[in-house]
């Protein structure tokens, strides 16, 4: 169990770093959504199903969607 958790934490941090490195903002948003998704799995492990649900629905899905809509109306690549 603890190895699964550690692996997920590492993956989440890697996702966060990737979100900060990618020049392509769409990729960065996908990485940030991955962070949210893993966070919601961690919430489930921490016995918080309500929060896991909210994070998956709001944090991962809707936030990523509004980010992508906003990027579509602005510019895709960071200069």
């Amino acid at each position: 169990m603890i190895f699964v958790v550690s692996f997920l934490v590492v993956l989440m941090l890697v996702g966060a770093v990737a979100a900060s490195i990618f020049r392509d903002l769409i990729s960065a948003v996908i990485a940030a959504a991955l962070v949210s998704l893993i966070a919601s799995i961690l919430f489930y492990f921490l016995q918080a199903p309500d929060v896991a649900m909210a994070e998956a629905a709001i944090g991962a899905a809707l936030t990523a969607a509004i980010f992508i809509i906003a990027i579509r109306r602005t510019k895709r690549y960071e200069e």
Partner: protein
Amino acid sequence: MRRAISIFLLIIVTVGISMSLAKIPFGVPKTKVGRHYINEGVKETGATNIVTSVVVSYRGFDTLGEVTVLFIAAIGLGAILSTVRNKTVKEIEPASLVLYTGCRLLFPLILIFGTYIFIHGHLTPGGGFQGGAIIASGFLLIYLGCRERRISRIASNLAESLGGLIFVVIGLLGLVFGGYFLLNFLPKGTANTLFSAGIIPIIYIAIGFKVGSELASIIDNLIEES
């Protein structure tokens, strides 16, 4: 240079926080308020999901503030983006038939699922926020799949206003009947049945509609072609 300074600052912050974390060990019970909610929650509010009873009843005032925050975001977003709406009807490429039909088939199912989530908020995990977000994602699907469809702005405004008003009015009714704002003045019923927990399901349904319509109108405002 700027990078070095910010890393330095951040390290100070992190070290400071980890110093005080030493007093907050992981996995050890440390709360007195939460313990009270767990022991007395079902008896006092009639909701078997303690998180729901905390969100709607014990800390219901926070929740009122929270739906207000979302309301502000929806209104503010409308105010910020309002002047760009020059109705240039661009030729939108229609979605393929499969996508169109699929979205139209899925949409009612998603709505039912979201409704289920917030009606059962006091029994199972989930509630107004989660259900509302699921409903909003249904609308997102419609925007993406069936591009020419739009929700009626008046209907979404109506849902936002009515949801908020129901919350406040129920709170004020508690004040009238029992002298406390947001008092659970309805009978609690038997725990673990759908019709139990007094005002909690009613408030969660109001929140569900409000959150759903607010998130949908946020998406609607953002997606509007400029």
